[in-house]
């Protein structure tokens, strides 16, 4: 598809919208909108209403999108155009579109994969717009029709990706219409060295000089934009090369390929676009180092090793004060056993001392006295964890069948500790069960236990039953990097907590 003619009907309100969309074609004057002379075959600048002069052939396909956008955005709908199916050089638009969308998903580029994938379809013309896996898939699909002229730009302005070359395996008849795939695949692709055929600057250059630093022979950054230098161009002009897309001298294109790709990757606003001809081997293209966050996504959740962090300043806690009935019972038993052992030992000591004293004829030692617990004369009695007796806890233990690690009561508060995979179920029961009816999630928070083995965080949910005047704490222990199911679907208040 391409647009051959564009003109302005009567009624323009001089709103400048079209010029913003497509400045290459439209020029809004004080009383109307004109089609620019630069873009027209007759070179005149007018509304083009009566003469209907054609657009320059080079622009017909490339500016199609922006002209359509301008026409759609025209508030008074006076922009009209003739759109025809372009038989001479149909651009593989679908690939461009799909790929441009997919780049937004995976902005980090793996050049090697892209090139490999593209070369896998050697013999057809492949347009690769970005190297994300999805994009490659899209490009491969688009490559099924016969070879076409490579007119697709690397990526639309909105994409955030590093532009990746449009790869065109060297096919003799590539620019003519539809060579058979079989013939193309016989072409001696291995003899061709890759080279950059064209390079141009899209709109939006921020004049940062990065490209000139990477490739001073090709780029020249002026005060307002970046130019392609005349020395490397076939036509010897110095422009942005955006409209004309003049070619690079083959020798320069081959020699400077790496620096041009480096400049395009280094461009912070991704406006440097280029086309590559020939079979680019992975080795000839610089390998992009994966960014750290991309690595993190691939490798799973981000995990910070607190214990070996070299420059941490904070003293880490050494204990794990996680209230638990089991632990309390074990501690109590251990303490009782220690007391008992101490008592037995003192009795045995007394016996030996007594026999020794009797043998030596001395006075018998005093019998040991069992120590009484220290009397608590304060108004403080520390609440200890106790067995779960509350009907709510018992009910939940029954409902969750095996997903509860422990349930206990301490200081009048009910605690139910569940396995991470049983959390949502537990919350759903608490809210939905007719006997429980915990309507409100009052609070949710987490505690870090760096010294703990087997888990790193405890996450607690404090539920309130307004109708039954009860509170319940649900606790989950999670490992470092482990994610819990969100509670927002069940309790929307969890959103901010």
């Amino acid at each position: 598809m391409a647009i051959t003619k564009v003109w302005i009907e009567e009624g323009c309100i001089v709103c400048n919208a079209c010029e913003a969309e497509c400045p290459d074609v439209f020029h809004v004057t004080e009383d109307s909108c004109h089609i620019k002379g630069d873009s027209r075959q007759d070179g005149r600048e007018s509304e083009n209403r009566d003469e209907k002069a054609e657009l320059k052939a080079a622009l017909q396909a490339s500016l199609e999108d922006s002209i359509i956008a301008a026409a759609a955005g025209c508030p008074v709908e006076v922009i009209k155009y003739d759109q025809v199916a372009n038989v001479a050089a149909p651009a593989p638009e679908p690939a461009a579109t799909i790929a441009a969308h997919s780049t937004a998903i995976a902005p980090d580029v793996d050049i090697e994969n892209a090139v490999d994938a593209a070369l896998g379809t050697s013999g057809t013309t492949v347009s690769v717009s970005a190297a994300a896996a999805a994009a490659v898939a899209a490009a491969t699909v688009a490559a099924e029709p016969p070879a076409l002229a490579p007119t697709v730009t690397a990526a639309s302005e909105s994409t955030v990706s590093v532009p990746v070359p449009v790869l065109v395996p060297m096919v003799p008849a590539a620019t003519t219409s539809a060579p058979p795939v079989a013939a193309a695949s016989q072409a001696p692709v291995e003899t061709v060295k890759p080279r950059v055929t064209k390079v141009w600057i899209e709109e939006g250059c921020i004049v940062c000089n990065a490209c000139e630093a990477d490739s001073p022979e090709v780029f020249h950054v002026t005060e307002t934009t970046c130019m392609i230098k005349p020395g490397v161009r076939l036509d010897g002009q110095e422009t942005e090369n955006r409209l004309e897309k003049n070619g690079l001298k083959p020798a320069d294109g081959e020699r400077l390929i790496e620096s041009i790709i480096a400049a395009a990757k280094g461009c912070p606003v991704d406006v440097i676009k280029f086309e590559v001809l020939g079979e680019a081997t992975p080795a000839s293209l610089p390998v992009v180092e994966a960014k750290p966050h991309a690595e993190g996504i691939a490798a799973g959740p981000y995990v910070f090793d607190y214990k070996t962090a070299p420059n941490r300043q904070v003293a880490m806690p050494k204990t794990v004060p996680l209230p638990s009935f089991h632990t309390y019972q074990e501690e109590q038993e251990a303490a009782a056993a220690a007391d008992e052992a101490k008592w037995t030992k003192s009795l045995a000591d007394f016996e030996t001392a007594k026999t020794k004293a009797a043998a030596e004829g001395k006075e018998a030692p005093k019998a040991p006295v069992k120590p009484v617990p220290k009397k608590n004369d304060t108004d403080m009695e520390f609440p200890v964890p106790g067995e779960a007796k509350d009907p709510d806890l018992l009910h939940l233990v029954e409902l969750l069948d095996g997903k509860v690690s422990q349930a206990f009561e301490q200081a009048g508060e009910l605690t139910l500790q569940v396995h991470p995979d049983g959390l949502q179920e537990a919350l759903m029961f608490c809210k939905g069960d007719a006997a429980l009816r915990y309507e409100m999630l009052a609070d949710q928070t987490a505690t870090h236990f760096p010294a703990a083995e087997g888990f790193a965080f405890s996450v607690v949910y404090h539920l309130t039953s307004i109708s039954r005047r009860k509170r319940l704490r649900i606790r989950v222990l999670v490992k470092e990097g482990q994610a819990l199911d969100s509670a927002v679907q069940i309790y929307p208040s969890a959103n901010w907590m």
């Binding site: 709103c15 508030p75 996680l322 200890v384 309790y491």
Partner: protein, 366 residues
């Protein structure tokens, strides 16, 4: 004919009607709010983390500075939370005095809300009246503990000292005239046509949404739910007090206004009961010199002027400071309902909605 587009504007962070440094990102279609995103965190000081390095006695000082217009409520939440953690039994007289001061604090908080909220909406006079009475209560606090705002009024286990001489007289003098003062505010506002036009039907929130979003306090009670922690889970001396929980059903700004005014009357009632029934006895429990914790985990919530104020503590064996402290701040959770209350409504109502939620940014950000 002309292009129209949605506009994104910022309300705040430096805006008098956001009651602190709150920034609200608003998407506007003309004057209608299509999207409202509260942006918080400008006043974050890390109080919860700081308190992990403070002893249980020192940490209370930080609670003065979360909701700084209701410091005594925060103090009460902290000391009762710690008492629950340690299992401390506090003398009954201390409970009575705490209850009295907390209710007086509720009055100051509601008065500040009334004055500033009315000022936001356009009624100037009420502000002057409300601050006149608030000043009087603040001097009562000053008589009790020496500070007007950052009180640190209580101690773990009771009170540092009993009420000073002349204190009861001062409170009774205030009590004698305060009901008339509420009458004055009501004369200015309750039947005022402009006030009713600006508040009735503005920023509504029904009880179902409020409970789903965790909204508590007067905002929830104005929507019809009678959830009040003083009644549901009595603490301090509230179990012995006779008071009502005022509710409304409309769930709009006007209903919240009526609920808060009625709450001030109930607070007045509770203060009178505390004064009349003040038991004799000590005000401080017998405690060891140094409080060393055992392993325990508590969540203690009280009914602060803004809603459910919860303190979550984890105690570590042998430690003098909490292993973890977390504040369930009512302003923070209530602010979550702001988009629900304002989206699809007018820009001017956002101001009314922020005022009627009664948020204090020191507590939102902590």
């Amino acid at each position: 004919m002309f292009k129209t587009e949605e506009m994104e504007i910022n309300l705040g962070p430096q805006h008098p009607s956001t009651h602190g440094v709150l920034r609200v990102k608003l998407h506007l279609d003309g004057e209608t709010v299509t999207r409202c995103v509260p942006m918080i965190g400008y006043l974050h000081r890390g109080v919860e983390k700081i308190c992990e390095d403070k002893t249980f006695f020192q940490g209370q000082v930080w609670t003065d500075r979360t909701d700084y217009v209701a410091a005594i409520s925060n103090n009460l939440g902290w000391v009762e939370g710690v008492e629950k953690l340690f299992g401390i039994t506090t003398p009954r007289r201390a409970h009575y005095i705490r209850t009295m001061l907390t209710e007086l604090n509720r009055i100051t908080s509601h008065l500040l809300w009334l004055g500033t909220h009315a000022l936001d909406i356009g009624a100037m006079t009420v502000f002057l009246y409300a601050f006149r009475e608030r000043e009087e209560v603040l001097s009562i606090f000053e008589a009790f503990c020496g500070a007007r705002l950052t009180t640190t009024a209580f101690r773990i286990g009771g009170l540092r000292e009993d009420i000073p001489p002349g204190f009861e007289k001062q409170v009774r003098a205030f009590q004698a005239r305060f009901l008339d003062c509420i009458e004055e505010y009501e004369t200015l506002l309750t039947e005022n046509r402009i006030w009713k036009k600006r508040t009735i039907g503005v920023a509504p929130l029904n009880a179902e949404d409020a409970i789903a979003l965790g909204v508590t306090g007067p905002v929830l009670r104005a929507a019809g739910s009678s959830y009040d922690i003083r009644k549901a889970f009595p603490y301090a001396a509230y179990a012995e007090m006779d008071f009502d929980v005022p509710t409304q059903t409309a769930g709009d700004t006007y209903a919240r206004y009526l609920v808060r005014l009625a709450e001030m009357r109930q607070s007045h009632r509770i203060v009178n009961q505390c004064l009349d029934g003040l038991p004799e006895g000590p005000v401080m429990a017998k405690l060891p010199k140094v409080l060393k914790s055992e392993v325990n985990e508590v969540y203690h919530a009280i009914e602060a002027p803004k809603g459910e104020l919860g303190y979550y503590f984890i105690g570590e064996k042998g430690s003098q400071s909490p292993y973890r402290m977390h504040i369930r701040a009512p302003s923070f959770i209530n602010l979550q309902a702001l988009p629900k209350m304002t989206e699809g409504r007018l820009l001017a109502d956002v101001i009314a909605a922020i005022g009627t939620l009664d948020v204090v940014l020191g507590e939102v950000d902590r």
